[in-house]
Symmetry: C2
Subunit: 400 residues, 2 copies
């Protein structure tokens, strides 16, 4: 019979997808340039030329059976070695190839990490607001996702709520910094405190608590800063990385899982991931994409546009009277809506061809997300439209 | 805690992998040209130039954000449409894009098909000898794999045993023709009889029985024939295809799942596959590989070498007194070992640098598999070695 579990999932409609479809339909009518679509987290800058050159050179020069041959189930060894070397150099964590498992981007990495370090029925904690796909990843593993309420002052961690929810049932904690949807980067202080609490609870409960760190935005950090990494503070941590945003290749589905070398089971966990793949039928990202990526580990697309856009939008939102925490990275900003019901707020914005995403599905009602991975010129043209929208619909707001 | 399920899987060693590692180590010592490695099903002919040209043209000419952008979760629509059109034209089954779900090769297709049309705990039947990875696919779904014993006379289906095992608990049947490891192609008569029995049992039990058809060798059929397809005989069928063998690109992980358009739930099953992907974190094969593949649907690598090798090996094996059914396709042949214990037989062969795979892990003890996806020149040189091996070790066999 058809699986009731997956049949039922068909009922759920993604708000982001519906909004993006609305934007597309509207664009057909009034011209795409007139729709201010802040719905989708699709990179807006091209892949670096060096990646394209690597791909073409591999196709032209490498022996085809070797180029297109089966990858070992953990990934091509030379690629894993290159990833480990790049990480070690950049983050002062002594990764070796045996700590690295090649995946279909961060989604694949998280799905494998969860299956490796939890047992169905255990709890996984994450922090609101959170990427809605964490729901299916955790459900697919057979675990229970519990969401720690947001600290809406800072969008760092609400430690009070976290400590209450960190019971003995919790096997893993899923973090995401720089964060989708807030754009917030966890501070060193936040990560240190998180690590200290987890270490203490590991002691108390007598079992390991893994921190699974979803880091696709790690390279997109503003103001000349770097994102602090949990791996520098907590040994039972698993890094889940994707090249989707940093190299602007989301469709090519390439990333990795890196188990902290300080974790005594690091190599075992990586080998277990190879076994997990057998059951999901995933069996490694494509060989050519692995090889081309490995030649471009220390480069990114020209991501400076995201900082320019962040500055423009943040200043405009503050100027218009929004409550908003300044993003430290990513290409998202997360203001408080001008009425309690963010869904109604975003619905009204549609009348101005402003496509904003209400944050209910991110576990943080009353807020909305703007993805500013679009041309700066369009951000600039959107600002007067945003002004017209809020001045017309919310004349009594507390404008500066 | 670490998942005991996947930790335990680490204990199992793949016989094929161990043999292939032995072959590699031996090659380092005595030269690769002197090791007759029949262990691995890796294509031995290069990808067609047209595929390489498609890849390079896409990289050079397509707008990079479009080329490398997110694929919809079911696959790029134009690609699904092209796959459906090619299938319709070639096999007279009226597929449309909505019947097609793009996957990471056949492994991904089978894993999705099983999750879509079974409920954990139900039984899945397959036929010995079978591809050992069916075990993890079915276990990963939460189903129970039952193996119908082989008809060793023909390696078509043992219908007597099948009918006994086709109880009301069976939700799906996993078939593989042309077959790995036997090289046998199911006849029209076999498929018609299989369809008739399943249809009758669907009636009796009052529930659907899906036939999931693993078809990576569909294009590799000899003697100018074509492989009959279950889709032409049975409406509740799901085709799982891979381009690994036909285009010689196993490392690029590209294939599709095609639900028979005669199945009333075809489109729903495809949409459910999109939901299944969310839980496994798979989310579609890479965009560029999808697009390049879609331009090369009706071509194959130069697979004629496999037929040449089949002829050479079959004649030699018969000449040496082996019992063997002549393969109709693939690049495998499946003779009966010259002693009851095929493991012992293959162990002795290693002393002659002949790497043969005992069929115990395929569910058919007493037989062995030879993968002849190697250069014809090497097959020719292997024959006198094979002769020396059997004449020395089995002088009393019934040689012609």
């Amino acid at each position: 019979m058809l699986s009731p579990q997956y049949e039922q999932m068909l009922q759920g409609k993604s708000v982001i997808r519906m909004l993006s479809e609305f934007a597309r339909d509207r664009g057909r009518k009034i011209g795409y340039e007139n729709v201010f679509d802040f719905s989708l987290g699709n990179p807006s800058v091209p892949v670096p030329d060096s990646f394209t050159e690597s791909m073409i050179r591999l196709l032209q020069e490498k022996q085809p059976m070797e180029l297109h041959g089966y990858s070992p189930s953990l990934g091509i060894y030379s690629v894993r070695k290159a990833v480990a070397a790049s990480l070690s150099k950049r983050f002062a964590i002594p990764y070796v190839a045996e700590d690295i498992f090649m995946t279909s981007a961060a989604a694949g990495a998280i799905a494998h990490a969860l299956r490796a370090v939890t047992v169905p029925g255990e709890e996984v904690l994450t922090f609101a607001p959170y990427f809605p796909e964490y729901g299916p990843y955790v459900a697919g593993t057979g675990d229970v996702l519990k969401v720690v309420p947001a600290d809406t002052e800072t969008f760092q961690i609400n430690f009070k709520a976290f400590e209450e929810m960190l019971t003995h049932k919790v096997a893993a904690i899923l973090i995401n910094s720089p964060n989708n949807p807030t754009g917030i980067v966890y501070s060193e202080e936040t990560l240190q405190k998180l690590a200290a609490i987890c270490r203490e609870k590991e002691e108390t409960y007598g079992h390991t608590i893994f921190i699974i760190s979803d880091e696709p935005y790690r390279e997109i950090v503003f103001d000349g800063r770097k994102a602090p990494l949990i791996g520098n503070y907590y040994e039972h941590s698993i890094m889940c990385y994707s090249f989707s945003k940093s190299l602007s290749i989301p469709g090519e589905r390439i990333g990795y899982l890196a188990v902290n070398p300080a974790c005594k089971d690091a190599e075992k966990i990586v080998n277990m991931c190879g076994q997990i793949s057998r059951g999901t039928g995933h069996n490694c990202p494509p060989s050519i994409i692995q090889l081309a990526m490995a030649e471009n580990l220390d480069t990114t697309a020209d991501i400076s546009v995201y900082e320019t856009n962040r500055n423009l939008l943040y200043d405009a939102l503050i100027d218009l009277g929004f409550t908003v925490v300044k993003p430290g990275g990513t290409f998202y900003i997360f203001p408080k809506a001008l009425e309690e019901d963010a869904v109604a707020f975003c619905q009204k914005a549609k009348n101005y061809d402003l496509i904003l995403v209400p944050a209910d599905s991110f576990g943080c009602p009353g807020y909305f997300r703007m993805a500013y991975c679009i041309d700066t010129e369009k951000v600039q043209r959107a600002i007067p439209v945003l002004r017209r929208f809020v001045e017309t619909e919310y004349p009594d707001r507390n404008a500066k």
